[in-house]
Amino acid sequence: MATNTNIIEFVPSHGALTRLGSDTTIESGQRKPPETSTAASVFDVRDLVFSEAGNKVSQGLRLSQAELYPARHAFSREHITALRLLTLAIGRSKRALDSITGDNMLAADTEIQKLQVLLPELFCCRGLGDGFGTITNALMSAFEVLGGTTPDVNQIRAMNKVLQVLKEKPFLSVDEADDQVQVLESVGLNPYPAELVEFLSSE
């Protein structure tokens, strides 16, 4: 199980690498400036000195093991896949909202269907952390409970918002994910698998 931590901004105290953008995402068709290309390019291990106690010291900078850990997942295959799928999902939800504004419910529902089928693969990227898995699971459950009914405008807006947060912070903690699941709950979406809820409530 992956640790539920986020990428932290690493600011080296010296050297050519001077900035890491907080946005770790890749927009399709958009080149990223060289200084923000990958986490690995910024994370210069030579800047770190390991003390006997295992603490990493770099001219006053101290990072815990948990803080460093996400670097292993950053821009891994599942990270890239997740960002690609999230970009698609956000686009679908945006187009669904636009279609509703244009009073084209059929087009809106079609977009939502296309969003829904992205989720199982997105869930396969849950190695990014339990926070990521928690949100993806909640979205999958929400659709299952809707049972084919098109979510309303508020619900699609909430999904769009949550997907954007997930794209911006795919390594978010479980507590942060919990806040996003609450956003879904606040618009009447059920974040748990229906059969599990039925089982737990059967006593």
């Binding site: 869930f123 339990d130 919990d178 059920n190 748990y192 599990l196 089982f199 409530s201």
Partner: protein, 271 residues
Amino acid sequence: MSRAYVETTVLADALLKPGPRANAATSALRRYDESLLPVYSIKEFKAGALAKYVWFHGKLVTTRSWEKTLAQLRKSAMSPFRGRWVSTAVEALEAAGHRNSDVTLGELVDKYGALATDDVVRCERYRLSLRRIIMRAWKKRRQVTSSVVDELSCYPEGDVIEERGLIELGEVNCCPKDECCLAAELRRHPENLRKMKAAIASQPPKDENVKRSQVLRSLTRPNQKLTPKQCRHLGDAVFAYFCPPDAVILTTNTTDLRPLAEALGKKAEAP
């Protein structure tokens, strides 16, 4: 002004059973001007319903397989869920395990391997769901009612944490220095203890009634210390005894609680 004295079963419904059961519990709480949650409810909740969920969650973590967890839930002698295996809820749970072997999943298995098999995906989804339900339940325990009352000085409520993927409940019992902190207050009205004992005598002779009756009797005797185990056996009697006279005990277990409450001129209602 109407007041509810909230018993463990209602707390568990409100916190651990998302959906209709939780809605019914929270709606019931809102019917009263004031809802009082005794810490004894929190103690029973943690050692009972919450511990069952933690066990279920632990099985998902350790087996990493929904099929294996299901087998444990169904067969294991210690499974707190064994009794449910005749309900339609279980059919829904089992059916869900068979209906997702669709084309999309097949493609994902080719791409992601075991990580995408229905067994593992279901296991992970239930694990994440249960984890959220458990952690939120503990976090919200003191927020479901308008106030928390009757603090227990010998009960360390502690915290619920996650360690190596498993949820750790910490201490679930009282840790009295001498005896349970409720003892002195219970001994102040021995006549009430006798009334409750008499009420139990007219109930079916089930195990929990026998134990409760024994503890009530020992409380009326001199030089008998109330132990944490006995405190646990008192259960429903604690709610009947400590419920304020102007409040109603809110419980889904009216069968057991009503006779005790009525013996003391109090009321017990279901949500």
